[in-house]
Amino acid sequence: MSSLIQSQLRLTLAVIGGTGLILGSIPLLFWLAPATRTFAIFGLPLPWIILGIVVYPVVYVAARIYVRKAERIETEFTEFVGRQ
């Protein structure tokens, strides 16, 4: 039982850590490298591309990965309990 909770918690913390690192470094990047605040790709400034568009697919993919792994942990647990 506690191993189930522990592996779920490890997964949760990994997702939070990963997203936190990615999202948290964005303001820091703008802060430390002012050139990135105005840098433009195809006429669109980088901050608007990142915050307006790119973050969403990243968050969605993180959610999909999390659900797949969380379900796998639960399936293994269910099979393990069933064998006993």
């Binding site: 039982m1 189930l4 909770i5 779920q8 918690l9 997964l11 949760t12 997702v15 939070i16 997203t19 999202l23 948290g24 303001p27 820091l28 703008f30 802060w31 605040r37 105005t38 195809f42 006429g43 669109l44 400034p45 901050p47 608007w48 915050l51 307006g52 568009i53 973050v55 969403y56 697919p57 968050v59 969605y60 993180a62 959610a63 999909r64 999390y66 659900v67 969380a70 379900e71 639960e74 399936t75 647990f77 269910t78 309990v81 069933g82």
Partner: protein, 511 residues
């Protein structure tokens, strides 16, 4: 903009809302149907309903307004509103569903075995709900004012009355259908004008052209961390806002109620993933309104910025086309106020009904009343408080007020849920202390904001975006007090943990 056409649009939304509500009423017969729609709702319906309920006045009007005034930093609002569901997914979605709790006070009572913790939670649900309903009413007032010139009280009163009638008449089942319908209405209303503008674009008018044409002081607007619009300490403000939005979502009273309609923990997770996709789609559009607003409605920057979404279509297309699009957007805005207000009212009324009203009514009438009537009275009470608050408080931007509700939720329910689900040594005293310390600190900041914040400097930054200090404060309080009072660790903690984390497929004693 043509008021006749916009009023027709708003009227259609109201009729449709009440119509679907009545349809739902015919289906919901027993009390259990009435409350939770018998859990017979599929993840896709449920995800549309969650998104429909979640996308409030702050998302539909407020985000575009804030970006229009303050620039790129405000894009974090829509990012945070979305990432909040990722945090909800990984931290609480499945365990919360498995707890079987219908409201946050329910969860608190079963996990901490304490009526006191339950009562603190009930108070917080009413407080956060009120803080969240306030901007919905203000948004409704603003929309009716923009469309007809009528004073803001009119629109607020219309929304308040319709929501109370609908919630009291239909309960959850009808609300689920209404909310799902309203997500798609809101997305259509927000996206259609943008697509038509892009199709009809002339050189320099399209969003990229507008961004490129900004020079000098205006160029600063397009940069992050710019302090445009007079926001001090932008780096602190950005992080604090992000914390509040990411960790506040799970503590919003109307969000948890929705998760109960999932059949099991797995469905709760899958529903959340669909919600993330639906929200991401929606939030692509508000920034485009803000960018176009810089070029077509610059007068709104110093004025009624929250109306930019409503004003833009008729500014770009004078004549019938603009009027039609304006009517569509006004209708979508009304859908936003109605859906969020309904969800919040259901959640607050549920708490008032269970924790305040029912026992008293039983005593008063000697048990001679129907449970459903108590819920109806509670629905009326739930809307009365924010309506009075709306009449007495000053103007504060829509998205900022909602941001404060998130900050209070992140400083109270977030620590209670996260530690309650994952930490078996959390004590009942620790839970109560965390709720009180986080609640008092964040609510104090919120009240100072609603009634007039300090003019500038760190004092202002800390009060406008309190989450960065109130949320850690609440977490530390729970942990320290729990360590000091190990004798009040709930006796049933081990069994609670089994119930929260075991997949439904495994046959265990769930208490």
């Amino acid at each position: 903009m043509s008021s006749a056409m916009s009023l027709t649009g708003i009227g259609l939304v109201i009729v449709a809302t009440i119509g679907i509500g009545l349809f739902g009423l015919r289906i919901s017969r027993t009390t259990s149907d009435f409350y939770v729609a018998s859990r017979a709702i599929t993840p896709r319906w449920n995800a549309s309903a969650i998104s429909g309920e979640y996308l409030s006045a702050a998302s539909f009007l407020g985000v575009a307004g804030l970006v229009l005034v303050n620039g790129a930093d405000m894009l974090w609002f829509s990012v945070g509103y979305t990432v909040g569901y990722l945090m909800l997914l990984v931290l609480v979605a499945a365990p919360l569903r498995r707890s079987g709790a219908y409201t946050l006070p329910d969860f608190a009572e079963t996990r901490f075995e304490s009526a006191i913790v339950r009562r603190i939670c009930s108070g917080l649900v009413v407080g956060i709900g009120t803080l969240y309903l306030l901007p919905q009413l203000r948004g409704a007032g603003l929309t009716v004012q923009t469309v007809t010139g009528a004073p803001p009280d009119v629109g607020a009163a219309v929304v308040a009355i319709i929501v109370v009638i609908n919630v009291a008449a239909g309960g959850m089942r009808s609300i689920t259908f209404v909310q799902a319908f309203q997500y798609w209405l809101k997305l259509t209303a927000l996206a259609t004008p943008i697509f038509i503008i892009l199709i009809a674009w002339r050189s320099g008018d399209h969003p990229v052209g507008v961004l490129q044409s900004l020079h000098g002081a205006a160029a600063e607007w397009a940069e992050p961390l710019s302090t445009a619009g007079g926001r001090d300490h932008p780096l602190y403000a950005t992080y604090s806002l992000l914390l509040a939005l990411c960790f506040g979502t799970m503590g919003l009273p109307h969000v948890l109620v929705r998760f109960y309609t999932n059949p099991d923990g797995r469905a709760a997770r899958r529903t959340t993933v669909v919600v993330l996709a639906l929200l991401s789609l929606f939030y692509l559009f508000p920034p485009v309104y803000a960018i176009l607003g810089r070029s077509f409605a610059p007068d709104l920057v110093a004025g009624a910025a929250d109306t930019v979404v409503l004003e833009l279509p008729s500014r770009i297309f004078p004549g019938t086309a603009g009027d039609l699009l304006g009517a569509l957007v006004a209708a979508g805005a009304f859908a936003a106020f109605l859906s969020t207000s309904s969800g919040l009212t259901v959640a607050i009324a549920g708490v008032i009904d269970q924790d305040l009203l029912r026992t008293r009514l039983t005593r008063l009438t000697g048990g001679d009343y129907l449970a459903v009537n108590s819920f109806r009275i509670a629905a009326l009470l739930a809307m009365s408080v924010p309506y009075v608050a709306f009449r007495v408080t000053g103007a504060l931007s829509l998205a900022d007020t909602v941001g404060l509700a998130f900050a209070v939720a992140a400083s109270t329910f977030c620590p209670m849920l996260v530690l309650g689900i994952w930490w078996r040594r959390m004590s009942t005293t620790g839970a109560a202390a965390g709720l009180i310390v986080g609640g008092v600190a964040a609510s104090a900041a919120a009240l100072v904001n609603v009634f007039g914040a300090p003019a500038d400097g760190w004092a202002r930054a800390l009060v406008v975006q309190p989450a960065a200090w109130t949320m850690p404060l609440a977490f530390i309080t729970v942990i320290v007090v729990s360590k000091l009072t190990p004798n009040t660790i709930p006796a049933g903690t081990a069994r609670s943990m089994v119930r929260l984390h075991t997949p439904e497929a495994v046959d265990v004693d769930r208490g």
